[in-house]
């Protein structure tokens, strides 16, 4: 899971659109807000591409920017989302064919940090050290968020198979 890519700032920033989109949609969830986060991240990547220092992979740098932009947008909406609590979803039947939909729905019930860590570690397969750097917390805290997120998701989703 640790990043093995080499630094490649010369690669077109648009090549990273799918990566940025995955992270933004995973963390922010609301389609319009996710689009805002995606655009902000891509703008920052284009703007600072030449400032990239080859201390890690370019993809890791892109992930960090995408995560921070997504967290910024998600936190901006936090009060609003707190005011409008999500009603508990109807228990889905065990043989629900759209298991990705169920997981995506359950992700919305996690806290922003838990969701971000889950998306980066489980979905993007980033190492905890990189997740912590992207989210802006300690590695132990990131592990804790991931553990709590996974425990909650297992409880909510039961058997997804």
């Amino acid at each position: 899971m640790p990043e093995t890519e080499t630094a490649e700032p010369s690669r077109a920033a648009t090549d990273y659109v799918p990566l940025v989109r995955r992270i933004a949609r995973g963390i922010v969830r609301d389609p319009h807000d996710a689009e805002d986060a995606e655009q902000e991240a891509l703008f920052l990547i284009l703007k600072h591409r030449n400032d990239f220092q080859e201390r890690g992979s370019f993809e890791g740098w892109v992930r960090r920017i995408a995560t921070r932009a997504s967290l910024k947008v998600a936190k901006r909406r936090r009060l609003w989302l707190w005011l409008l609590e999500e009603m508990p979803a109807q228990p889905a039947p065990a043989a629900d064919p759209d298991r990705l939909g169920r997981l995506y729905g359950a992700l919305g019930r996690l806290s922003v940090q838990e969701r971000a860590v889950f998306v980066l570690h489980y979905q993007e397969e980033m190492a905890f050290a990189d997740v912590a750097a992207a989210v802006g917390c300690r590695e132990g805290t990131a592990r804790n968020y991931a553990f709590r997120a996974a425990r909650k998701l297992r409880r909510w989703l039961g058997d997804l198979a």
């Binding site: 799918p18 989109r21 995955r22 949609r25 995973g26 389609p31 707190w82 005011l83 409008l84 609590e85 999500e86 009603m87 979803a89 759209d98 298991r99 990705l100 939909g101 997981l103 995506y104 729905g105 919305g108 889950f118 998306v119 489980y122 979905q123 993007e124 397969e125 996974a150 998701l153 297992r154 989703l157 039961g158 058997d159 997804l160 198979a161």
Partner: protein, 130 residues
């Protein structure tokens, strides 16, 4: 219960799907009850703070409990007291009105105090006399 590997595998599949067509998740939301209570409390507090305050009432409250009941047996003396009291009450009403119109005017506030003190003195004088 899902294993960690299963969770990772589903999460990766979700990531691939998020690139193209994120799953449509119908979300039902409702206003949090705590938020409703907090909003109601804030509105109440705002209304309390912004309520129009009667500056004359503040002066009057300083004399609350100082107007004792006067019992006068002599009818003539009672009429005299009631006439004097009516004049003082008129003076108080005028002073209060002036204070309400110009809350920042200290002269009117003082006038209002003087009128209330006159009422206190009048009552005390008739209590002692009767």
């Amino acid at each position: 219960m899902m294993s960690d590997d299963e969770l990772r595998s589903v999460a990766r599949a979700l990531g691939a799907r998020l690139e193209t067509d994120p799953p449509k998740v119908p979300v039902r939301r409702r206003v949090r009850r705590v938020a409703l209570i907090a909003i109601a409390l804030m509105l109440g507090a705002g209304a309390f703070i912004a309520r129009p305050r009667d500056p004359a009432a503040a002066i009057e409250s300083a004399y609350a409990g100082r107007f004792a009941e006067v019992r006068i047996e002599d009818p003539e003396l009672r009429r005299e007291f009631e006439a004097a009291l009516a004049q003082v009450e008129r003076a108080i009403a005028l002073a209060k009105d002036a204070v309400r119109r110009s809350p920042g005017n200290t002269d009117f506030s003082e006038l209002c105090h003087v009128a209330f003190q006159a009422k206190v003195r009048l009552i005390q004088a008739y209590i002692q006399g009767s």
